[in-house]
Amino acid sequence: MSWFNNWTWPTRLRDKGIIGMNRRNIRYIGRYNSRRLYPLVDDKLKTKLLAQQYGITSPELIGTVTTQFGVKHIGEMLTGHAGFVIKPAKGSGGKGILVIEKVEDNAFIKPSGAKLTLTDVERHVSNILSGLYSLGGSPDVAVIETLINFDESLMDYTYEGVPDIRVIVFKGYPVMAMMRLSTAASDGKANLHQGAVGVGLNIATGAALRAVQFDRPCFSHPDTGHDLASLVVPQWETLLNLAAGCYEMTGLGYLGTDMVLDRKHGPMLLELNARPGLAIQMTNGEGLRRRLDLIERQPDGVPAKQRVAFSQHHFARQSELVESPDTASSSA
């Protein structure tokens, strides 16, 4: 019986408006994402250059390494930069990303405190070029960009890694958002299936709605112990406008945008995903279906600002983390 309790009925999922993998692939990705546009998002360098062209803030590019020969000159390229991130242009799932927080007497220091030598960094870049981290193992390009100094207001909500904000943008409308907080269990990575905490965000305000770890509800960060109910993402409207603008930039109808908050520059686009996962439904405790159906009925060609306003108006929700007076009285 307990085994059976772990399962639910398809009708109940349908009532909740949950979207399954098959429906996502056929109905949304297959219909709204043209295959020829994929390289724009699968290659982080292309995304970055495109973002600069469209005026969408993203971390500053220090340089790229395209040949094994160029690996030797990486030392010169890095001088004068305190913190930087080296990532494969075609990597997926955060693989092969090397974060250097600061450089002290020729030692490169990772956020965990581990020290690397220049040779270590060169080997990492060489591995990236040979395709160790890229999809299908094809030769790749290493992208080096400045380190994000993430906003202090969010510092208490995360353990080690940078918290990022995923916004699903459908036909240019932000439909659902969540924040991913790394934990000790997730080893500083913001991957939900590895144990990061996912916090569903209210599209209207950027405030936390509900939090889950390993698909089970939680109310405070498991490592810092900080209460999650108070979490509100600052500069929320700027962030939504940035995310919505990615639709014009890429032309992809069903898009996952990953953003971070920088201390100086505010919301920044980190990367885009043409096949965003479905875990966002778990963190919001709500299916995507109704929101996507509503957006499908909207006309094309609405400017980004109006789209954001539309979403903020229609997708506003009450937080489940704070006991609001009316729910308290109804449950009493």
Partner: protein, 507 residues
Amino acid sequence: MSRLMFYIIVGLLLVAGIATSVHRHVQFEIPWLPGEQRQVWEIEAGINFNAQDGPVQVDLALPSHQAGYRVLTENTASSGYGLAYQADELGRTAQWTIREAAGSQTLYYSVQMLVSQDAQAPVQTPPEMTPITPWESPYDTAASQLIEQAWARSANNATFARELIRDVNGERQGENARLLLSQENPAALVVRLLNQAGVLAREVSGLLLEDGRRRQTLSSWIQVFDESGEQWSIFHPLTGEQGKPENLLLWETGGRAVLEVQGGTNSRVTFSMMTHDQPASAAVRNHYSEDTLLNFSIHSLPLEEQALFQTILLIPIGALMVVFLRVLVGIKTSGTFMPVLIALAFIQTTLPTGLIGFLLIVAVGLIIRNYLSYLNLLLVARVSAVIITVIAIISIFTVLAYRMGLSAGLTITFFPMIILAWTIERMSILWEEEGPKQVLIQGGGSLITAVLAYLAMNNPWVRHITFNFLGVQLILMALILLLGNYTGYRLLELRRFKPITDDEKPS
């Protein structure tokens, strides 16, 4: 493309598939079920030689009715050659002749043998006692000593033959036997010694029937007549085992050469064979029916290609299984169609050996691959190194299994090595990035898919249907198209999204 168009295409495929299948069922009386059937072996002999710009005469010995098998129909394919069947008391032959031929020549002879318990061999005339060619010294004493020893230990012709074969080839092989074996091959030597002792015997050629084998050759057997010259039995020339194995088809029983080519060089004959089931009535008249365009069947191809197609036509079943498990159930596999290829290997190895072999290869491969990752190699070089490793593992296991007397271990070579190497590479990367749990999930998923695909593909009914009804392929296509259009939930998603459905009342 509109939905309507899609459903029209699927509908057309379904109708066409069902119609051609029903047509074959009605017109050719091919039953839907594999049961209540007669087993028929189709054997094809391919003769190759280089003609020397002149007249050519080719004589090929042909099989006759015999215990367990009955000749049903026979065909030849030989453009430009004259053909005559000849029969005498020593057996039947086919004779091809041509006035002028040059270059590489190929002639085909194919025969359908019906497996029937009550088939009997025609009475065989024992060979004339051939004049004994005397042995030279010192072989003469060796020969007579061998005969004396075996004679003393035996009671009649059959036991004498058995003892002699054991003396020549078995554990008792002595110096005498080794000396004589330098002069003759084992089968010929035994026959010569038997004849010398006054026992009627001759070397005959037989074909061991195994489904789907190609490029086989005949093997030698020894036929020994009893004292009266009426009864005979067959002996294995190396083990001395008496009696005809059930799957042995005697091809030539007259003691003559199987293939004789005049006017050609480098002649050889190889055999392909396969078995299929036919209803008893259709088995008799099937091949007399006209080959029309509607009789579009694999059976009109040469046997060698038929044997290939028997396997190829099963692949869509495996593919359907993969689509089903991924789309409807949501099982994760490493490499989309890798499980189908593994399942194909399982068909050759049988399931338990296949599973053990697969796990052994992948486990050892992962350990070695783990070491390779320290060497910091480029991807292509690393995968190539893994391929060589896999080949080495397979060779070592094969030799070990053979040494330990596990003949089942020999079939491990049927595994697709390059696919295995990629599997190991993928699993190893998965291990490094996501941890061993994901490796177990995906590896286990692949294995479950492979086993289910194997069970589906190895089912006798499925084999019967896919091979006999080509229309089924269209139905499979339609099913896969329909599955590719399924937007509902996967079975495992009912578990994944369960937490959402119970938070109406937060605890």
